[in-house]
């Protein structure tokens, strides 16, 4: 069974600190997506990683993909309160078949404390 696991599941951190969220998946995939969800809201796309070694940065967030290790990381630099949200990774294991079906991770609920 395909699994997409994130850790930690919950993260409480102080403003100004750095931290990394990990996303491990159990099948071959060269595509991985990161989404943000605010409480009671929909999902907003953050990053699209399409190949091994891909790295993307937006503000205080940086995402990377290692397809050989089946691992993606979302690194937070100098956290601010506005980054408080739940972060999901999603894997597209059938990218070659063209169905573009995602398998979502369990989510990491981030709370940044002032």
């Amino acid at each position: 069974e395909l699994k997409v696991e994130q850790n930690p599941l919950f993260l409480s951190m102080q403003e100004g600190k750095n931290y990394t969220i990990y996303c491990n998946y159990s099948t071959t995939s060269d595509r991985l997506y990161w989404y943000r969800q605010d409480p009671g809201k929909s999902l907003e796309s953050l990053f699209v990683l399409l190949s091994n070694g891909a790295v993307k940065q937006e503000g205080r967030l940086m995402a990377s993909l290692d397809t050989k290790a089946r691992l993606s990381t979302l690194h937070i630099t100098a956290a601010v309160h506005d980054l408080s949200a739940t972060y999901f990774c999603a894997v597209d294991p059938e990218s070659t078949s063209g169905t573009y079906k995602y398998i979502f991770g369990t989510g990491t609920r981030l709370k940044v404390l002032a």
Binding site: Y33, S42, S45, T99, Y100, G105, T106
Partner: protein
Amino acid sequence: NAGVTQTPKFRILKIGQSMTLQCTQDMNHNYMYWYRQDPGMGLKLIYYSVGAGITDKGEVPNGYNVSRSTTEDFPLRLELAAPSQTSVYFCASSPGLAGVSEQYFGPGTRLTVT
């Protein structure tokens, strides 16, 4: 562009009732998806469609039906609602272009079955 729209935003159903969740996208995307998100969990794929007239099951299709008569619309039908179907339902669409399978999500429908 409105993007992906869903109606209703909230609904309470009694056990055994039926209803249709509406989803419309105005981005001319071929691919559309229905997910459910249980409290504190990730998203699970219910059904998806790769184009008008073509639908297929996802991870958790039992108790649901879909149709796709136009590119824009992808309604989800619940027959004989059960408490286990209490969840938030998200519709998403994707252009399905090679190398660009990013999904765009609607605002969600919060459904309670009592």
